[in-house]
């Protein structure tokens, strides 16, 4: 049995290697190899269902790295779920990609990266220990760096990839720190070992560890304030967005918290912190989603918002609910992204919803798929998101967090609004693709020129289509995966019918332990009332969207409305609440200027009144740093002498003190 586990883990990697080795000659064959290996891994995972859900799960020791440090793979319900999503949804996305990338020159490279990503993700979730998890965590970041920057001839793509990578490294550092502290406190690196020793952790230390882990989660799962990379990451090909930024990688944070549930159970302040951050992210993402025009950015912000829900759920202690939302989200969000991909494909790389409209007649299949996804994501009764979102929101009450409950419910209303806004703008009203930009109030894109550090790009590079010519991919290649995902987006939620006695709850058994919840009697109102309330809010959201964009009158006036909105979009939305600017001002620019200070200082007159050239704000540190590298031997000698004088002073003082 355990050999199968190894096969699951390595199959995608073998696929990546094969594609790499055989190279570009494969062309579309690469896609088939990639999809086949991943789907085979899916089947093999499914075969192990029984073993995984048995007590303790399926385990395979791989290698004894250092005496006492045995690394291995573990398939328990949690990793089984994630593996199924990664290989199952991932496999569908890969099949879709064959069609999407049909005529891209670099299709082999694309599939090599994709398979590598799947492998990295499986490493992350299948590992039974911290080291493997950390390695997977890093590899996933690396793979996403390659995939976001896949179209490296777009400066914005390269920049987005770099940003994602750097923010992810921040997260890696957090995880690394937690790994240390855990190893130091418990003396073990396997999850089982750590949890058996968890009494060694308490209070401040436990909170610090949880906090450090959550820094990693926040970076990977785009939680405030580390969310800024996610919208930019939409520069990657759309299947990448579906795979990485909807179904798998961004939910790694959810996995991590669920995996470390025993720690979270023991640390109320950590639960509070994570719950609040999740709620803030959910709300913020939804608000930002209102004002976007790029279809992929709308979906990106909705992803951020939905992950906020999941984090809120698992953070507060409602692991089953949070993970359920991950499960349903994987289907409906991947479906939404792939549908968006259908539109983008059809409209020759047009991503701006202002230039869409009226597509329901032209692309009925895409419309129904998008409708299913939208209804699911907003939690329309009967669709999958309804079950999971309600469970998460209601769990806030059960765990005694009415404020978070309110935020969750409000966010649900906003979600309904902006998702339907997108739906109406794309599929209803007149087709606006032939209108002039100015007529719709579209300003020249600021993003393309944002990073002045990028080398100049030849105009030809910008205008060349990334997907040069449309070949004739068979329609089913792209439609079938979308259909399957849409189907699941509708039905996936039914596994949770019945609350704590549902198949979903039983599937996990006692895996998460129990987070303390408040007594049922003190919960303000019942779950059915809550459901009704949330549904009402969702309905309000839909109605507002309908009035503004969907009603026949609004459809007629859509061009004027869009122009007015485009030109009048508040700056705060255009800048996504200034998070980027804040990070830039607080972190990037000081670091860069200090570096410049140290390195670029050619003016040797620091000691010669050159201080006047230096803004005093730069501080004495900058002055000293600048003075260091003048190129003049004498200033170097003085620096060394200053150091020596400090040494002598210190040693003279400690020496005489004895």
């Amino acid at each position: 049995m355990s050999g199968l586990l190894l096969a699951v883990w390595l199959l995608p990697f073998a696929g990546a290697l094969a594609i790499w080795a055989l190279g570009p000659q494969l062309r579309r064959g690469a896609g088939w190899i990639g999809s086949a290996t991943v789907l085979l891994a899916f089947v093999l995972t499914l075969v192990q269902w029984g073993a995984a859900t048995a007590s303790g799960g399926a385990h395979r020791a791989l290698v004894t790295w250092i005496p006492g440090f045995t690394l291995g793979l573990l398939l328990d319900p949690l990793s089984l779920l994630w593996s199924l999503i990664i290989t199952g949804v991932g496999g569908l996305i890969l099949v879709y990609s064959i069609g999407y990338m049909w005529s891209d020159r670099a299709i082999a490279r694309f599939f090599a990266y994709m398979n590598f990503f799947v492998f990295a993700m499986l490493t992350l979730v299948l590992s039974d220990n911290l080291v493997g998890l950390l390695v997977g965590w890093g590899l996933v970041g690396l793979a996403s760096y390659f995939l976001i920057g896949f179209w490296f001839d777009r400066p914005s793509a390269v920049e987005a990839a770099r940003k994602a990578f750097v923010i992810n490294v921040v997260g890696d550092v957090g995880i690394m720190f937690a790994v240390f502290a855990l190893y130091k406190a418990t003396g073990s690196i396997t999850f089982a070992g750590i949890f058996s020793q968890r009494d060694a952790l308490s209070g401040g230390l436990l909170f610090m560890i949880c906090g450090a882990l959550f820094v990693g989660c926040a970076a990977k799962s785009a939680q405030v304030p580390l969310q800024t990379w996610l919208p930019d990451a939409m520069e990657g090909p759309t299947p990448v967005s579906a795979l990485i930024h909807a179904a798998t990688m961004v939910t790694a944070g959810v996995y991590l918290i669920a995996r470390f549930a025993p720690l979270w159970n023991a640390s109320p302040p950590a639960r509070e912190l994570v719950g609040v951050v999740g709620a803030v992210t959910a709300l913020l993402g939804a608000i930002l989603g209102i004002a976007q025009w790029d279809i992929k950015r709308i979906l990106a912000y909705s992803t951020m918002s939905q992950i906020g829900y999941m984090i809120m759920g698992v953070g507060i202690g409602a692991y089953q609910a949070g993970v359920l939302h991950f499960f349903t989200h994987a289907f409906f969000k991947a479906g939404l992204f792939l549908t968006a991909g259908l539109l983008i494909h059809e409209l020759h790389d047009e991503q701006d919803v202002r230039k869409m409209g009226g597509l329901s007649r032209r692309m009925p299949f895409a419309f129904y798929a998008m409708l299913a996804g939208t209804l699911a994501i907003i939690g329309f009764p009967g669709f999958s998101g309804y079950f999971s979102k309600d469970a998460v929101v209601y769990a806030m009450l059960e765990h005694g967090q009415p404020a978070l409950y309110a935020v969750g419910a409000l966010t649900a209303a906003i979600t309904a609004y902006y998702m339907f806004r997108m739906l109406f703008l794309t599929f209803f009203g007149p087709y606006r693709g032939e209108l002039e930009d100015a007529e719709l109030g579209i300003l020249p894109d600021r993003r393309a020129h944002r990073d002045e550090h990028m080398p100049p790009v030849h105009p030809a590079e910008l205008t060349r289509p990334a997907v040069p010519v449309h070949g004739h991919a068979p329609a089913w290649l792209m439609n079938l995966p979308v259909a399957i995902l849409a189907l699941f987006a509708v039905i996936a939620g039914y596994v949770a019918i019945g609350g704590a006695t549902s198949p979903w709850w039983r599937f996990f058994g006692g895996l998460f332990g129990a987070a303390p919840a408040v007594a049922a009697s003190t919960v303000a109102f019942s779950e059915s009332l809550s459901t009704l309330l949330v549904s009402a809010l969702v309905a309000i959201g839909i109605i507002v969207a309908f009035v503004r964009y969907g009603s026949p009158a609004a459809q007629l006036a859509s061009v004027e409305r869009i122009r007015a909105e485009s030109l009048g979009r508040p700056a705060i939305f255009a800048h996504a609440f200034y998070f980027d600017d804040a990070i830039d001002a607080l972190v990037v620019r000081p670091a860069r200027s200090v570096g410049t200070f140290i390195a670029r200082f050619v003016d040797p007159h620091v000691l010669d009144g050159g201080v006047r050239d230096v803004a005093w704000g730069a501080g004495a540190l900058g002055v000293i740093f600048r003075a260091l590298q003048t190129g003049l031997v004498r200033s170097y000698a003085l620096t060394i002498l200053v150091g020596t004088a400090c040494f002598i002073a210190y040693f003279a003082l400690i020496g005489s003190a004895r």
């Binding site: 550092v173 130091k184 080398p455 790009v457 390195a599 040494f647 040693f651 004895r658």
Partner: protein
């Protein structure tokens, strides 16, 4: 009275110093061969003799593994500790020789290789030196040869580097020497072992330790004694830069480690060594911040080296036995990833251009994908990302710092690492960003395939140490 001029040493003493001696004699053979062989054969013969000499020295050194021996009345201690450092010097010197094929003119190559070998001799002597005198002489042998080597290129910047290195390093040697004089005054002996219980004035002893450390910190290029490093690295010829980036540091680190672990009186340990840890901490930050804006790879690697040496010294904070192992492990890892990067640069150099500017890396990912991939790998290792030796080395250092109560060093290490990622990724981006406007440099056949061997071995070692870090660490013996 008859003077008794009986040499109180036997063959065992000479056997103990055989490894450095062999290297030093190999240098003489290089000179002789250079005089006798025709001009065409000089390059390859010099390198071949040098490599053979180093390998022989390494084999001889390994013979002494299980037979630690205190030679020459305590001047030189051959044992596991010395052998590990000698081994690092030998390996680094071999890799540097591999990069030296295109180095210096025909009529200079023999002398240049000989100087490199003598420099290595000096470092190996420092590895086993257990008296102040031997440390000083080893250091000077190491440095004097390097002053000359730095100036051996037909560029003004090389001579500038030589002059700067000479003046600053001599000044630092002056501090070191004065510190040794004070230590001699405090203990009445030149043996390191005598430091354990100094009979005289605590202040004299402590200031002696301080100035001694200043001299060694200069060689380790720890901030604020690092100022010479970027300029000298940039100006010196490529193989020399590669050589000194590891060998100087290995020698000085051996001296510092022996001083910190074996020599100092137990009760004063903490107080005397605190400045060393502070300096290491500053280096982690200064090195990584300084690397941010560099556009010359040699200069970048200089800053990188400053930071890496900060990590290495930080590993010894608290002078735990494990810390020493990890420091040595990381030194070895640093050697491979650093020399690997240098070897890549060597492969990119052509006439009148050392290939160290950032522009030479533009689009390398498409011109020479294998080379670019390896360079990326080395940079990832230097930045400390998995699955490389750099990653695991940093983890170990973090662990030991946390364990010995120097958590603040661990925090600074993490901060430094985060900064460094930015610096290294600049090169990676340059290699893989395809932009119009950068000249398409022709693919270029290097003068010799030897650097490829170096690159390959370094890559394998960096990966191998990253995957199985404890294989070498288990056999790293503790300082005696």
């Amino acid at each position: 009275m008859t003077p008794h001029l009986i040499v109180p040493f036997g063959s065992a003493d000479w056997a103990a110093v055989a490894p450095p001696t062999v290297v030093g004699v190999a240098a003489l053979v290089v000179i002789l061969a250079d005089l006798m062989l025709p001009r065409r054969a000089r390059r390859i013969s010099a390198i071949a003799i040098g490599i053979v000499g180093l390998i022989v020295a390494g084999i001889i050194a390994l013979q002494g593994w299980h037979h630690p021996y205190v030679a020459f009345g305590g001047a030189f201690i051959e044992g596991g500790f010395a052998i590990v450092f000698e081994g690092i010097v030998i390996v680094a010197a071999i890799f540097s020789l591999c990069m030296s094929y295109g180095f210096a003119r025909d009529d200079q190559i023999g002398g240049a290789i000989a100087l490199m070998l003598w420099s290595a001799t000096g470092a190996m002597l420092m590895a086993g030196a257990a008296s102040l005198m031997m440390i000083f002489l080893g250091l000077e042998l190491l440095s004097l040869a390097l002053y000359c080597l730095c100036g051996l290129a037909a560029r003004a910047s090389a001579r500038e580097a030589a002059l700067k290195y000479l003046i600053l390093s001599s000044t630092a040697s002056g501090f070191l020497l004065y510190g040794m004089a004070l230590l001699f005054g405090a203990t009445g002996s030149v043996a390191l072992a005598a430091l354990a219980n100094p009979p005289i004035s605590a202040a004299l002893f402590d200031i002696g330790c301080g100035m001694f450390l200043v001299g060694l910190c200069f060689k380790l290029s720890l901030a604020p004694f690092h100022v010479w490093t970027p300029d000298v690295f940039e100006g010196a010829p490529l193989p020399v830069t590669a050589f000194m980036s590891v060998v100087t540091k290995a020698g000085a680190l051996a001296a510092v480690a022996r001083f910190a672990y074996a020599a100092l009186p137990q009760r004063d340990h903490a107080a005397i060594l605190i400045p060393l840890w502070i300096v290491a901490a500053i280096s982690m930050i200064v090195g990584n911040v300084g690397a941010l804006a560099q556009t010359d790879i040699k200069r970048l690697l200089a800053y990188s080296g400053i930071a890496q040496l900060g990590y290495i010294v930080a590993a010894m904070a608290g002078t735990s036995a494990l810390g020493l192992r990890y420091a040595i492990f990381y030194l070895g890892a640093y050697m491979f990833m650093n020399l690997g990067a240098f070897a890549v640069v060597t492969l990119l150099s052509r006439e009148n251009d050392e290939g160290s500017r950032l522009a030479s890396f533009a689009g390398l990912g498409y011109r020479q994908p294998v080379l670019a991939g390896l360079m990326t790998f080395f940079l990832l290792a230097l930045a400390g990302l998995p699955p490389t030796a750099g990653f695991i080395g940093k983890i170990l250092i973090l662990a030991t710092d946390v364990n010995t109560g120097y958590a603040w060093l661990a925090v600074l290490l993490i901060v430094g690492t985060a900064i460094s990622v930015y610096a290294y990724f600049k090169i990676v981006r340059a290699m893989y960003a395809r932009t119009i406007g950068t000249p398409v440099l022709p693919r270029f056949v290097p003068a010799s395939a030897l650097p490829w061997v170096g690159v390959a071995l370094c890559a394998i070692a960096t990966l191998g140490l990253g995957l199985y870090p404890f294989a070498p660490s288990d056999i790293l013996p503790l300082v005696r």
